[in-house]
């Protein structure tokens, strides 16, 4: 069955163009080659392009999406939405997607607990937007085309990778024949079955136990359902196994059904079987149309290092986790965001190559945290023994009666920005800074728009009060701002000669940075290009700021600023 037959989706087809290397007969050399045009690879290309960095992206297919118009990753969390705002696709995502904030967890016919996340967030972006993954990929492809720095090659399948010391040579298969391409740096975003990773003999350690089997049904109804995330731990209409119900774009609903461990994947995803399940859930009088149906098994694995010499692994090529809490797609995009600015700074000569090691430190820690969180959810939903099921029954039965047990009911902990451990690029624990509304020299903007308007650089924001006497600090900071180091300095709450001012009229920037009364002692917030707080220097000194920046940038910063 094709996607057209079921859901009426016609995904775009992109043209294959014969790569110039085939006629030339010799490999070409590029600073960055990205392997795989899924969420993570497209996000990396788009972020690099928005930073002025060219790359070649090789994708084996000639369209977006996987297995047709499957919805795949559907929940995009705030940090990812803030990334979309920075690279310029947020408005399209907001228009096409569905904002939601309410959720219910049910057992049998009862609501065990419910939540509402409309509590004010300082970010311009909401906590979540739901949208089918292929739309995100579509918007990224369009945006990459608009920016125009990415050589996006469809129907280019990488079949071998060889590290040659100062570059990596990739062998690529195309309809017009094979060719070789050399890259100073490779970003492998080619997913679970990465040829690059396997070719280097790297074996992702399996972190998972018995895979849990599920069946996805993307379905469209005549009768509207409430725009809420509903999860059943025990659904009466699914033989007391779990069910997820989530709205996406185009009024299509995503229903995930947990299957019996010994279920036949092909049998449970037959359209007539899926349709019968929907009728059991919604009643025989509900009219619906199946958009896409497919089985899948959960698993988890994680590479021991996300960097292998000149190759970086991002997204599923590096780590795979159960989909609970939307941590797969969101973490793949955040891998890309973490790596792109570091490569941009290294290629510009602003930072030493050592900065690139922090990608592995930070994002592997994030992946391990995500795998732990998702494995705990998976285990709650699929108890492995009679005793374990009794413990879960105890939690569910208490949660019906008492508030205290509700936080233990685990149907997924929704994706939040990971906290980074100490690395040369962050004084840990490193936290994400939300995209708050600010003014710059009186003009209304947001933190991510400010970052987007500048070359890839750290933002150093010194806080204080109007009456503070800070001429000495101002002179030093203005000198740092004007130096070759990729640091732009701003003053917030006070005017310092030679420095632009940031206004924080609603106090949201201070809130996002966790700044309280110490604002008057002239703290300096050092914010990275991926909008993570590199450090908060409590009583700001320019020397500490420089020391932190130079720790991240290495000798390159010192050499350039002395030149």
């Amino acid at each position: 069955m094709t996607d057209m037959a079921m859901g009426g989706y016609a995904l775009p087809k992109y043209p294959f163009r014969e790569p110039p290397e085939i006629a030339a007969g010799t490999p070409s050399r590029h600073p960055i080659v990205i392997v795989g045009g899924g969420l993570a690879g497209l996000a990396a290309a788009c972020d690099l392009a928005s930073r002025g960095v060219a790359s070649v992206l090789l994708d084996e297919d000639d369209t977006i999406g996987v297995r047709g118009a499957s919805s795949r990753g559907i929940v995009y969390a705030q940090k990812t939405l803030e990334f979309f705002a920075r690279v310029g696709i947020y408005e399209r995502v907001r228009e096409k997607g569905v904002m939601w904030s309410k959720g219910k967890t049910l057992a049998g016919h009862d609501v065990v607990y419910e939540f509402d996340m409309t509590t004010a967030t300082p970010s311009v972006q909401p906590p979540f937007i739901n949208l089918q993954q292929f739309y995100i990929e579509w918007f990224l492809v369009d945006r990459i085309g608009e920016i125009g720095r990415t050589d996006l090659r469809w129907k280019n399948r990488v079949c071998a990778a060889l590290d040659r010391g100062d570059h990596v040579r990739l062998t690529v298969e195309t309809p017009a024949g094979n060719y070789e391409i050399d890259a100073d740096w490779v970003i492998d975003a080619s997913g679970l079955h990465s040829v690059v990773r396997d070719g280097f003999g790297l074996d992702p350690r399996s972190a998972g136990k018995t895979p849990d089997r599920w069946c996805i049904c993307d379905v469209r109804f005549k009768k509207p359902l409430p725009i809420e995330r509903w999860t059943w731990i025990e659904a009466p209409f699914n033989e007391n196994r779990a069910v997820w119900q989530h709205l996406m774009g185009d009024s299509v609903w995503r229903m995930d059904f947990q299957m019996a461990p010994d279920a036949d994947p092909d049998a449970v995803s037959r359209p007539e079987v899926a349709a019968e399940r929907m009728r059991r859930q919604l009643g025989s009088d509900v009219e619906f149309e199946l958009v896409w149906v497919g089985p899948y098994a959960y698993r988890s694995h994680c590479l021991e290092s996300f960097r292998h010499k000149r190759t970086f692994f991002i997204g599923d090529a590096a780590h795979v986790m159960s989909p609970f809490g939307a941590r797969g797609g969101n973490s793949g995009i955040q891998d890309a965001e973490n790596l792109a600015w570091k490569l941009a700074m290294v290629l510009a000569g602003h930072a030493d190559e050592r900065l690139l090691d922090t990608y592995d430190i930070e994002r592997r820690a994030a992946a391990q945290a995500n795998i732990q969180v998702t494995d705990r959810t998976a285990r709650f939903l699929a108890p492995r023994s009679k005793a374990e099921r009794i413990i879960r029954d105890a939690v569910i039965s208490l949660a019906r009666q008492y508030e205290f047990a509700r936080p233990m009911v685990n149907t997924g902990r929704l994706s939040v920005p990971n906290v980074y451990p100490d690395s040369p690029a962050v004084r840990g624990p490193g936290t994400s800074v939300q995209n708050v509304p600010i003014t710059v020299d009186g003009r209304e903007t947001t933190l991510s728009q400010l970052a987007r308007s500048l070359d890839t650089c750290f933002l150093a924001i010194v806080f204080g009060e109007a009456a503070t006497d800070a001429d000495g600090l101002a002179r030093t900071l203005a000198a740092i701002d004007a130096s070759a180091r990729p640091i732009r300095v701003f003053a917030c709450g006070l005017a310092l000669p030679g420095l632009p001012t940031i206004g924080d009229p609603q106090g949201k920037l201070a809130r996002a940075l966790g700044l309280g009364a110490e604002r008057s002692r002239m703290p300096i917030a050092l914010i990275r290009p991926d909008l993570y707080l590199a450090a908060l220097i409590p009583a700001g000194t320019a020397s500490e700021l420089l020391a932190l920046a130079d720790r991240a940038l290495g000798a390159a910063a010192v050499v350039r600023s002395e030149a």
């Binding site: 009679k386 005793a387 009794i390 029954d393 105890a394 939690v395 208490l398 008492y402 205290f404 047990a405």
Partner: protein, 63 residues
Amino acid sequence: MNTRPNIPDPDGFYAALVAANEGLDVESSALLMARLALLLANQIGDQRVLLDALDAARSSLPR
């Protein structure tokens, strides 16, 4: 973790615990004990004490 006597009426509590399990099969009894453990854990509310108590409870059982 406090391992000195701290229950005001030990015999009374033992009797109440046995009485609560009376007439239950092993599975229902296990559910009761799990519910009790969770209720008590919330009273204690100290992760280190809870993990020490788990270790102590498990220590004399077959591995």
